[in-house]
């Protein structure tokens, strides 16, 4: 049987022959850019940044301190020994001992769990609450948007630390109340960011398509809009984690957060402040750990922002 040869097929075969062959790497790259999801691509970009990796390592070390303090700390946080009051850093107690003869390093290790817990839950709740409010404001627009935004303006016009102080003083000093206070003073920032990113995408065709197939408002917001507005929320949440850790330490420092004898870093600083003239180590080490925690989160956040930046995409 003679081979079928129409002009169209001939033209196609000619074109195929004339097409330049792709270099091995290039082809692979192209294939990857099609099949690899955005998150995997961003993750790869993130781990290529040494500063972000450093931030991640320090942060993971602190998280493991928070999760398994008894494995890392040489003693319990409330092990008082009156024979060793105010010992300077030495071979046995690497960060010295405090006014009740407790090992400062062990207390710092146990302290990580308070800062991390407050930071994590404060960010989670303000993200959720702010995210829902922000997306409702952006999605429904006009009057709903106006009412929600004016409400946020009221909260934003009171300095956040002051609002947190007022709330903790009303509710009383405890871990849960600290989380509530920090979330209430922080959630407007998340709401604003979510609103801005949803305003940018809500007119796009995929939203129209979802509406056309009869999706409910809630489904459009939670399944279609929010996942597409995730990148700025994640970056804000990382920065927010650092800020929440700082707020937790600040409130404890002025006596409105975690109460002694629990070893929260801000509380330890507040106690150490009374002895600053003679015993510097009571002030230097707890503060250093607060800084380390915020520093690692910031390093990671910077890397994450660059990795998720759409302008850097191929």
């Amino acid at each position: 049987m003679p081979k079928m040869s129409t002009p169209a097929i001939e033209a196609f075969q000619k074109k195929q022959k004339a097409r330049p062959r792709l270099a091995a790497g290039q082809g692979k790259e192209n294939a990857e850019s099609v099949s690899v999801p955005l998150w995997v691509e961003s993750w790869r970009r993130l781990v290529r940044r040494p500063t972000a990796v450093l931030g991640m390592i320090i942060f993971l070390a602190l998280v493991s301190m928070a999760l398994f303090p008894s494995l890392i700390a040489p003693e319990g946080y409330d092990n008082q020994q009156f024979t060793r009051l105010f010992l300077p850093p030495n071979g046995q107690n690497i960060m010295g001992t405090d006014n009740l003869g407790r090992d400062v390093f062990s207390r710092v290790v146990y302290g990580a769990s308070y800062s991390m817990r407050v930071g994590f839950f404060a960010v989670l709740s303000s993200c959720l609450f702010g995210g829902v409010l922000g997306s409702i404001a952006a999605f429904y627009g006009s009057r709903v948007d106006n009412i929600i935004m004016r409400f946020l303006d009221i909260i934003l016009s009171i300095p956040s630390i002051l609002l947190a102080i007022a709330i903790t003083s009303v509710l009383g000093a405890s871990l849960t109340n600290l989380i509530i206070a920090i979330s209430v003073s922080d959630f407007p920032h998340y709401a604003r960011i979510v609103r801005a990113s949803i305003l940018g995408i809500k007119e796009q065709e995929f939203v129209e398509a979802a509406r056309a197939i009869g999706a409910s408002d809630a489904r459009i917001i939670f399944r279609h809009l929010l996942p597409n507005a995730m990148a700025p929320i994640i970056v804000q949440a990382t920065v927010g984690l650092g800020m929440s850790i700082l707020s937790c330490a600040s409130l404890s420092f002025i006596g409105l957060g975690i109460q002694p004898p629990l070893p929260e870093w801000g509380t330890m600083l507040s106690t150490g402040r009374e002895y600053i003239r003679e015993y510097w180590w009571l002030v230097v080490f707890p503060g250093m750990f607060i800084m380390l925690a915020v520093f690692s989160v910031n390093l990671f956040g910077d890397g994450l922002r660059d990795a998720l930046d759409p302008r850097l995409k191929r």
Binding site: S157, I158, I161, L162, I165, I167, V170, L246, M291
Partner: protein
């Protein structure tokens, strides 16, 4: 422009009204009875407590007390009287606010000078050793809790070197340390903002044009680039300044500065409700004014924004003229 300012001032009214209600409700749900506190704590006799409750009208319903407070504020400009000192809150705030303002202003000026200079330097020397050094230092500065750096400052300058006093706010030696500490922390944030904003501007075509027409590098950087990179930097400085005016609570506590932040925290601890309400209201007003000031500064820096304001006014005039013409 005047119209825009008036419009913004009018928009502040509902926000301030919300703040008044919020502060009132927050104090209402706060635990502890101020009458018991004023009568001398738990050991107070019920008669004394009842007398104080009667005197301060604490037994009136919430809405009556709120209406009374609001009426006094609007008609007499009275934002409350302290339970503890029996002094008008407005007088006390007016007395303390200059201290806080002085500290915030000096710190902001210090931070702007250091922050913008280092930020520009870091951007024009991108990826060099100097840039990495400045970036690292600014990141550490942003991560340092201010109360810790204050304590380190006291440890080094007051205790170790015995150069500066560790508390109070009377002479220039007293405010040097707090302003340096706040200024450095604020500068760290300004450096980061200036660097990223400058890097974005430096890549624009008009900078290439400026260089191509033979402008000196100094003119290109300071006249063409920096001026265009200033908007986010000004926002950042303005935001910090606003926070400092009201939220320098921790610094004022550490350095025992008789400012407005310390006044409020002391009042919260003493359950002095009127002081908390009054000062929070003043602070909200200050925050709104700082935000307005920042927006007006934009117009000074960026002629495009200025022309937008003018354009808005012209457009409205034109529109009004057209409708009026139509009616005739």
């Amino acid at each position: 422009m005047t119209r825009y300012i008036l419009q913004r001032l009018l928009q502040m009214i509902p926000v301030l009204l919300g703040v008044i209600i919020l502060a009132f409700v927050l104090n209402e749900v706060a635990p502890g009875d101020p009458a018991v506190l004023l009568a001398g704590g738990e050991s107070a006799t019920p008669e004394a407590v009842a007398k104080i409750r009667e005197e301060l009208k604490l037994d009136d319903p919430f809405i009556v007390r709120f209406a009374d407070y609001f009426k006094k504020m609007v008609t007499e400009g009275n934002i409350g009287t302290s339970y503890k000192t029996r002094q008008p809150v407005a007088v006390e705030v007016a007395h303390r606010f200059p201290q806080t303002f002085k500290m915030a202003a000096i710190s902001a000026i210090f931070a702007s000078i250091i922050g913008i200079t280092l930020g520009v330097l870091s951007a024009i020397k991108q990826y060099t050793f100097l840039d990495n050094l400045i970036s690292m230092f600014s990141l550490v500065g942003v991560s340092m809790p201010v109360f810790w750096s204050s304590l380190l400052g006291i440890l080094f300058f007051s205790i170790h070197l015995r150069l500066l006093p560790s508390s109070g706010f009377y002479t220039w030696q007293h405010w040097l340390l707090p302003c340096f500490v706040i200024g450095t922390s604020m500068a760290a944030s300004v450096v980061r903002m200036t660097r990223s904003s400058m890097l974005e501007v430096i890549r624009q075509d008009y900078i290439r044009t400026a260089r191509a027409k033979g402008q000196s590098e100094r003119v290109v950087i300071f006249k063409h680039a920096l001026k265009n990179a200033m908007i986010p930097v000004v926002t950042n400085i303005g935001m910090h300044f606003g926070v400092l005016l009201g939220g320098a609570v921790i610094i004022e506590t550490v350095f025992v500065i008789p400012g407005i932040g310390k006044y409020i925290t002391d009042a919260i601890r003493n359950r002095d409700y009127p002081v908390v309400q009054g000062s929070v209201l003043v602070l909200a007003l200050v925050t709104c004014c700082v935000n307005l000031g920042v927006d007006l500064l934009y117009a000074m820096i960026d002629p495009r924004i200025k022309s937008q304001y003018r354009g808005m006014a012209k457009f409205k005039k034109k529109k009004r003229g057209l409708t009026e013409g139509g009616i005739r």
